[in-house]
Symmetry: C2
Subunit: 550 residues, 2 copies
Amino acid sequence: MSRQLNGSVTPEKRLGQNSIVQPLLTDLYQITMAYAYWKSGKIQDHAVFDLFFRKNPFQGEFTIFAGLEECVKFLDKFSYSKSDIDYIRQILPPTVEEEFYKYLGTLDARGVSFYAVKEGSVVFPRIPLLRVEGPLIVVQLLETTLLNLVNYASLIATNASRYRMASNKLKLYEFGLRRAQGPDGALSASKYSYIGGFDGTSNVLAGKLFNIPVKGTHAHAYVTSFNNLSELVIKTLEPKTGGKPVDFVALAIKWRESIVSVFNVMLSEVNDGEFAAFISFAISFPNGYLALVDTYDVKKSGLVNFSAVALALLDLGYEPIGIRLDSGDLAYLSVVARNLFIKISEQFKRPQFANLMIMASNDINEETILSLNEQGHEINAFGIGTHLVTCQKQPALGGVYKMVEINGHARIKLSHDVGKVTIPGRKDVYRLYGENGNALIDLLQKSSEAPPKVGEKVLCRHPFEESKRAFVTPSKVEKLLVLYWQNGKICQPLPNMQEIKERVVDSLRILRADIRRTLNPTPYKVAVSDDLYRYLHDLWLENAPIGELA
Amino acid sequence: MSRQLNGSVTPEKRLGQNSIVQPLLTDLYQITMAYAYWKSGKIQDHAVFDLFFRKNPFQGEFTIFAGLEECVKFLDKFSYSKSDIDYIRQILPPTVEEEFYKYLGTLDARGVSFYAVKEGSVVFPRIPLLRVEGPLIVVQLLETTLLNLVNYASLIATNASRYRMASNKLKLYEFGLRRAQGPDGALSASKYSYIGGFDGTSNVLAGKLFNIPVKGTHAHAYVTSFNNLSELVIKTLEPKTGGKPVDFVALAIKWRESIVSVFNVMLSEVNDGEFAAFISFAISFPNGYLALVDTYDVKKSGLVNFSAVALALLDLGYEPIGIRLDSGDLAYLSVVARNLFIKISEQFKRPQFANLMIMASNDINEETILSLNEQGHEINAFGIGTHLVTCQKQPALGGVYKMVEINGHARIKLSHDVGKVTIPGRKDVYRLYGENGNALIDLLQKSSEAPPKVGEKVLCRHPFEESKRAFVTPSKVEKLLVLYWQNGKICQPLPNMQEIKERVVDSLRILRADIRRTLNPTPYKVAVSDDLYRYLHDLWLENAPIGELA
């Protein structure tokens, strides 16, 4: 059963979903619970679950919600195949009744209503990112897969957005494929870091599947594969505007001789294998010449060889792109490189040379970028791998999926840790804005309550601390939970990746700077309505056992 | 083109490989380098690359090598489809010659010789886990995908093996699906943690694909979905040996009344919704009754309700399994539970009750287990999620893939950081064993050298510190690199998962305990032969530029 999407259809959607996203991608206990519910006559039970998290990642005070589209696609194709059921029969005890397997075969998500915050929105602890309503058994069976699809996607989008903020307008490329959690971990990383604010990826398959810009030039191995200039088979290059091929090697050699004095090195110190590698790369990609300059020695060899070849390219009308630094003191080396580029641009009247791109890519994390910013540097672009894709600082978002209502009765999960008490009942979330357009507070209400109104005072209460209350008069009210799936249909256009990427930017813009900042950010407020406060606390008392002092 | 595997064929193999493991799952620079190599006339160049890592993860002194089978499968199907080439044409500059795309279309891994350490072996920094030889362009194009397949697999297998050692003979289950890096990250985690020493997973799809035992019972939501005993539709259960169904609810109620005094609680403190949930779960799974006891209050409610239902099951001839604790002080609660179980077993003459399983599962990491061991606890099994699958302590293994030889000439990658200098040339690795069967040292030699011989003294040198040398007389010599792929064929049986799992156990056994231990482990020695030492240092001097003091 395939359904047409109402929204814009990107190539990614046409390709459908990773085939391993299927109902068996779940914890076994969901299926044992399904049987116990079934056996206990709970087929008609109707439940409401909230998916939310309790703490923003990375010691920050915001999170970017992502993964929604994958969730909707999962609902769309949710059903157990014969092979699935055969396998389940194999792993459940033989006492399980055969009727149950027939019942499993009939299940799909048509009875489910699925509400979500818009993908790419900034979100906060305790607010439901998803509200999933429907037959208890089905909504329970969706739990693990939905969590899997939301947790990592949101984590990496958030991580990427933090790198984006730290690096201002610099270019950011995701280089994490080799260090990601397997092949698909890498693809998710490429996709959601692009959504979170990156400019591209090195992952070619991600480029193909998601239409993300792909970047990359060469590795150290390319440089070490050349020994000296005599290995160069092709020595000529046509000028950009056409015409007779020029002896490019001779031209580069001539340039190298002219510039060694600028670099204050002896020609014998400059590596010839590296020179040959750069020349051959420039002949192959005369319009895309970006060279990795740290295979031997950045100052004594890499920059000299790069510059000689770049000047030769300029002579033929090409625009060299720049260099990549992959080791050493990036702030210092970038400044050294920039100064030399400026010196050359002045000495040889090549104004473009002053603005060559300097890319850096060695084990960079958010702190590295912030520290580079403090030191001062001349880097224009970062390639970021391990720390981005593994989210080293916090490698998992602790999203949870909790039952808040069953058959119209609110449910609460108590805990000795107040932070872990769930907010019961079917709820809506409203984002209240101030006059300057900044978001002031997210307000949770019972769904049965009337929404807050623009210009009308509304009492916002801390969910657990009685005395923390404030009146808010919103200039704008935004209902965060939107219905995406009902009666077996996607009922809201799914935005394409570009639109989600733009939402991230817009959504972060509504936050005050002190909430967004990296160091000691101010927590954003998430409140409950007065009604919901009373409801929550009444239910709490009702469910907490009364002990006896002994 | 599909080839028959020589080795044992498990269901997993028959299913083939995740379809996203394909030649485009690579960094773009591999393809730009391929073009530059092609354009520079390097089609006939022959290269040798080593895949190795520089530092053991998790502050440990060993690593488990995994991911080999996936690498071999990748070689087996390595080729660019028309759609791949169309996409590459789209992202490379228009100056790239059309001939190159034709050439890409002809590429496969038939010219590659692929050597590897056996999957599941314990390995150490600097030794090649893979040695990949063949046409420069092809072996370069394999880099990123091989790294992706080896890095996470080895990391998680190592992590799992550390949990295994920390928990001795206790049962370990992987519960990480909801927190893993996407769907496939989760599957890899299930597979390689099983290989590393876990007993099963909660991930049903991993169970189906890899034939791993799957475990799971119920969540808090199951408990909160019941309010009181009146909701129970089915109240009876047949005795295990058959016969007239018994009023199971009445039986459990009777038991609960008899035991509250053992728990020193009042009946009013014990939650009836939880009781109903446990009864219904026991009726559904009378042979698999394992209850999550911390939804309300472990001591005042969970353990009472669990025990009443477990005693009722025993009356009918069933063997209850035990409890799961998912919050609170696990050491303390497990001891409380065990003592109560023993008390009941004695008071009511139910000897089985003393040995009920106690499972723990709240945010557990290696340190938690070590600390529980110190405190003393009564836990029999752990369910481990986030920390296992994300490898929180070190979320990436820094595997690298370096050219060590081209056209018969050794290559060295220099670095100001001595630890990053690569060991040049085509090499073999021998593991030398002492008389007691322990591994003494791994010795890297040039492939052209004769292997070390049992009973003959061999000089082992530190690769970088001149004075660190030792003679070793091995009692056993093991050649670690085995040929897995040549002439387009898999030429070594690929073991099934059970065999790999056993190799992990055997392989760790050959390590001295002080190398394996968690706290301040002793580094295992990796040495080079005298010949290789000289070769390395000659090449180093040859490539390092000579400066001039100014």
